[in-house]
Amino acid sequence: MITITHYMVLSAALFTLGVIGVMTRRNIIIILMSIELMLNAVNINFIAFSYHLQNAIGQVFAVFVIVVAAAEAAVGLGIILAFYRNKETVNIDEMSLMRW
């Protein structure tokens, strides 16, 4: 029997994978992909709750999360391209222009 807890643990594990990617990788493109993984984990939670509570509102919010993920990917990749044009790198350690 698969309960809601199974889905929540799966989502927590996927979210943690995203956190590990953000914390340990140096390539900013992979960091953005890890953020997409985290948003997917959130969506799994929304849809699992929508199924277990028999309520369609969870799916509505999952649609909004997908919208925000698409907007984030477009703007984030635009920033990466603009940065690459100036500094010829995608290494997060060299993006220290605004570091205090």
Partner: protein, 167 residues
Amino acid sequence: MVEAVAFYSLAALILGFGVLVVTAKSTVHSVLFLVADFLCVAALYVTLQAQFLAVIQVMVYAGGIVVLYLFVVMLVNLKRPPEAHSDPRRMGRLGLVMAAAVMVELVAIFALGWSKPEVTGGGGLSPNNVEQLGRLLYQDYLIPFEVASVLLLVAMIGAIVLAKREL
């Protein structure tokens, strides 16, 4: 029984591809594993009676966002791979420890702090709920829906402005 087999195999695939996305050496491989991961998540949505979300996941994530990533990976032609040299002040181990702390915290919240919430509205979930979802989006959630469309427009203009050499 069938439900359990489907859940465990899909969960193993999702987590396995997720690990590969985070650990792959080449960025292109990472993007391809990300596509596989998104497709497995879409299959999980089908088992949860969210057919519309599964189609959207395949179209928007596996079709749109990942193509965008692939284009950027190919435009950004790396002479010096980012993993080759690192900042001496960087603390990678600390990142792993903090990620483990996040995992422990999330599992603790889920295991200890869950009570069945009272939800009103929505009106049940029929097995074929695309029509229901459309009604909710266009009636109860019309204003958030329009705000989301404005957000997409702003993101589109912003991405064009950022990526263009000079206006």
